[in-house]
């Protein structure tokens, strides 16, 4: 953890117009929750649907993508990463710092709004709100790590990430049950289901698989990203 690198990264992600991108989806989620509340459609099944489809299914992967790739990909694109890498800071530490920044942003912009939206709808009934908040926090950390690695490995990180989140996790995951085993958002849902005892919510992946998978993916991706940065070669844009 290097505070200067962390400070620069926060400024790069939150500065100027870029923060709008991070705020748009959480605000929409809370707006939808308020709308559902106003029209008194605030029962548990609606809440679980909104949380599963919008909060964890749409908002979380997208924010993970924006934060995870956003901490490093623009610098690589610009070539300004060379200034960072030529400083006497170990490259794995740079990767870890950037991962922590992305993870903290996801906690603020994904997990907190998820809790607030669920709380607006059903309060703390059956642990739905804390369950989904913790689930999206843990899954968000894993997304941050994976998309950070993707940002280091390829210049098309955002596109590939979108294809993973929309095509694999959403489209294929809806059709084939087997694909859900290899989906970060379903691992997060497994944790949410463990805390919440709502009768409307069942997870597709068992907890005994989800927790080791989340840990392995997160730690593995951060370490690998550090290794990739150690032997990083700046190549020209297409």
């Amino acid at each position: 953890m290097n505070t200067v690198v962390a400070g620069i990264t926060y400024r790069a992600l939150l500065g100027r117009r870029r923060i709008i991108l991070l705020l748009l989806l959480p605000l929409a989620l809370i707006g939808l929750a308020v709308l559902l509340r106003l029209f008194s459609a605030d029962d548990q099944s609606t809440t679980v649907l909104l949380m599963k489809n919008f909060a964890i299914g749409t908002m979380l992967p997208l924010l993970g993508l924006i934060a995870g790739t956003g901490v490093i990909a623009p610098e690589i694109d610009d070539g300004t990463i060379i200034h960072l890498m030529s400083k006497p800071i170990s490259r794995p530490v740079i990767a870890q710092t950037k991962f922590l920044v992305a993870a903290s942003l996801l906690a603020v912009f994904a997990a907190v709004p998820t809790y607030v939206a669920a709380w607006i709808l059903v309060g703390n009934e059956d642990g739905i709100a804390p369950g989904f908040a913790l689930g999206s926090l843990v899954a968000g950390i894993a997304y941050a790590a994976v998309f950070l690695l993707l940002g280091v490995v390829t210049r098309h990180a955002v596109t590939i990430g979108i294809i993973y989140a929309l095509v694999w996790e959403s489209l294929v995951g809806n059709l084939l049950a087997g694909a859900r085993t290899w989906s970060i958002q379903h691992w997060g849902q497994a944790i949410a289901a463990q805390i919440s005892d709502s009768p409307f919510f069942q997870a597709d992946v068992s907890l005994s698989f989800a927790i080791p998978a989340l840990i392995i993916v997160t730690v593995g991706a951060v370490l690998w990203a550090g290794q990739r940065l150690r032997a990083f070669s700046l190549t020209g844009d297409e």
């Binding site: 870029r18 991108l21 989806l25 790739t69 489209l171």
Partner: protein, 285 residues
């Protein structure tokens, strides 16, 4: 032919092809860039993979027609069913059209030649429109040709096919104008991709929730309007009004009348205006 620099070198006295030619050249260059032609193989993977995915339903459709004598996805609903793929294509490739020129600040170089801002933006929008149209129209045409070859019982659905092609063109124009307007606000490709897909997901993920909320509480008339917030359903509602095709929303009907067509025109104008303002500012830097 007014050009701002003349530093005393020998003049070009070959044929002058004029503004139209340079605009067309810019459009063709941008269109090639969308599909990664003339760029390394890495840039071709994403667009061509998405084109491949778009063709899968058509091939399945032809197989169903040949084997079971039944129609697969109707032509009028193809774009709505495949909207996620079209949106990913738009998000992934729209920044490739606008971002490099903004990032390397070459816009003043273009504008020092006889290409105006309007022509520059027009060329970019045309290129993106043609690309998105090809993405939707290619599979549609394949399915239609397949239907003619298979020789289904009853007359071929030529009217529906032509209507779907026209609507695909309108949809491509709407998507391209909006996609380029969003992407042009940042010179970074990654952020451009993220902002286009964020706006799309905002409309596609929230619209069914809003519809269900209003419909459950008995406001079905109000609920119908929710569909117009997503470009794909908006164009489908115009198609429903123009050609009387069945609505392809997830559930329920569209608001009747020409309001959706009017909204479409207004949205197109807004996107074009945003592009014009953005490039007026970008050109000044």
């Amino acid at each position: 032919m007014s050009e701002i620099y003349d530093i005393g070198y020998r003049h070009y006295d070959g044929p002058r092809l004029g503004r139209g030619h340079s605009t067309r050249a810019l459009a063709v260059h941008s269109l090639r860039g969308v599909f990664g032609l003339g760029r390394p193989a890495r840039s071709k993977i994403v667009p061509f993979a998405l084109v491949g995915i778009m063709f899968i339903p058509s091939i399945v459709s032809i197989a169903i027609m040949a084997l079971a004598q039944q129609r697969g996805i109707p032509y009028s609903g193809f774009a709505v069913v495949m909207q996620a793929v079209v949106a990913i294509f738009l998000a992934a490739q729209a920044p490739a059209v606008v971002a490099p020129d903004l990032r390397y600040r070459v816009l003043p170089l273009y504008l020092s030649r006889p290409v105006s801002i309007a022509e520059y933006v027009g060329a970019k929008v045309t290129a993106m429109t043609v690309a998105v149209f090809a993405l939707i129209a290619g599979p549609l045409t394949l399915a239609y040709v397949g239907e003619l070859v298979v020789d289904m019982p009853g007359p071929p659905a030529t009217g529906e096919y032509l209507g779907a092609m026209l609507m695909a063109l309108v949809l491509s124009l709407l998507l391209s104008a909006f996609g380029l307007a969003l992407a042009s606000f940042t010179p970074r490709r990654g952020l451009g991709v993220a902002s286009v897909i964020t706006v799309y997901l905002l409309s596609s993920a929230s619209v069914p929730v809003i519809y269900a909320t209003f419909a459950e509480t008995g406001n079905v008339e109000t609920a119908k309007w929710a569909w117009l917030a997503n470009p794909f359903w908006l164009v489908d509602s115009v198609q429903h009004w123009l050609f009387g095709t069945p609505p392809h929303s997830i559930e329920g009907d569209y608001p009747s009348g020409p309001v959706s067509a009017l909204l479409l025109v207004v949205l197109l104008a807004v996107a074009m205006l945003a592009l014009a303002l953005r490039y007026r500012k970008a050109a000044a830097r």
